[in-house]
């Protein structure tokens, strides 16, 4: 949907760091977001590819670290990574009184691989 503007921001940040690090090329970008965020990696890749043309990040590969949905069970007093299927409940004891503690993280640019100028 709005992957165009996200791709634009990713590119801007990547190029800013490329400049700071004296990089000739950007080879790979590592992005992360929570499983429950509404981000479509394919659409983001396509938009990025088009926008990066003619820049130092042209042809850079995007990889995604998708962080899991994590709940904290009040009964077990423990945290679990879960496979969200519509209802949040504890995978161990089944109790529905759980708190969502992970999985909605916003899109972040974590790191990138660059080739430095001689």
């Amino acid at each position: 949907m709005h992957e165009l503007s996200l791709a634009q921001s990713v590119l801007e940040i990547a190029l800013e760091y490329a400049e700071k690090n004296n990089a000739a090329r950007v080879d790979r970008l590592v992005l992360s977001f929570g499983r429950m965020s509404c981000i479509q990696p394919d659409a983001l890749e396509t938009a990025f590819e088009a926008m990066a043309r003619g820049t130092r990040a042209e042809g850079a590969v995007l990889s995604f670290e998708i962080t899991p949905v994590v709940i904290s069970c009040l009964t077990c007093q423990k945290e679990y990574d879960i496979d969200y299927q519509g209802i949040l409940s504890c995978p161990s004891c089944g109790d529905p009184s759980v708190l969502l503690v992970g999985g909605t993280e916003d899109l972040k640019l974590i790191e990138m691989e660059v080739e430095q100028k001689e």
Binding site: C38, L99, K108, I110, M112
Partner: protein
């Protein structure tokens, strides 16, 4: 050439968050409560705004920011009722962001305005990820959309402080399962409040309006 790994750890939405913080500071100065109202197309955002303003009465000075994609239909409805309204030109975007709001309110004096309601673009997916300088985020789901929507679009239910369930006058004609709906919503977001309403008959409107009025008063006096 030497390959190097560069650590970045930057939030892609940081520009929007910074702009949102600036907007918040501005609205805090005039003690204006800002509500970001989100839903799918046609769930009842405009109807809710019109009815809520009427329920709150003239004591609460309200203005509306309209984020229609292309038309001014909703803004015209506000205008016809004498409600101050600012239209945002979203240029076909699927959500409103803080820069759009900042531009829209640049020449708008919020001094003396108690409440600003932002009618977001009709979309249940991405508006939840973009702050617009709001104090409160409210979503509307309408009965014909079905009780399984929270499962399909969990983020919107997680990121809001109230969920208005509109068009309950249509309940007898649908297989909407209220218990299942409540259960899913509360499991996603135990702190939210669900307001079953009909903007057609006015049922449930008072409870919702009272909840909002309380927030307006707290902002004004706090």
């Amino acid at each position: 050439m030497a390959v190097k790994l560069v650590t970045i750890k930057e939030d892609i939405l940081k520009d929007n968050k910074e702009m949102s913080a600036l907007l918040k500071a501005r609205f805090n100065k005039s003690k204006t409560l800002v509500v970001n109202l989100m839903s799918s197309p046609g769930a009842g955002k405009t109807s809710t705004i019109l009815n809520t303003i009427e329920a709150l009465g003239p004591a609460v000075k309200t203005a509306v920011i309209e984020g229609d994609i292309t038309s001014t239909v909703d803004a015209d409805k506000m205008d016809a009722k004498g409600i101050p309204v600012v239209q945002i030109n979203t240029g076909g975007a699927c959500h409103i962001d803080s820069a759009m709001v900042a531009e829209a309110v640049a020449d708008f004096d919020t001094e003396g305005i108690d409440l600003v309601v932002v009618e977001n673009v009709g979309n249940l997916v991405c508006p939840a990820e973009f702050e617009v300088g709001e104090d409160v985020r409210v979503m509307i789901l309408s009965v014909p959309e079905g009780h399984d929507k929270p499962q399909k679009y969990p983020l919107m239910f997680i990121e809001t402080q109230a969920c208005i369930l509109n068009k309950i006058d249509l309940l007898p004609h649908t297989d909407f399962d209220m218990e299942a709906f409540r259960k899913t919503v509360m499991s996603l977001n135990p702190k939210t409040t669900i307001f079953p309403v009909s903007m057609k008959t006015g049922e449930g409107l008072d409870a919702w309006a009272a909840w909002l009025k309380d927030k307006v008063d707290k902002k004004k006096n706090g």
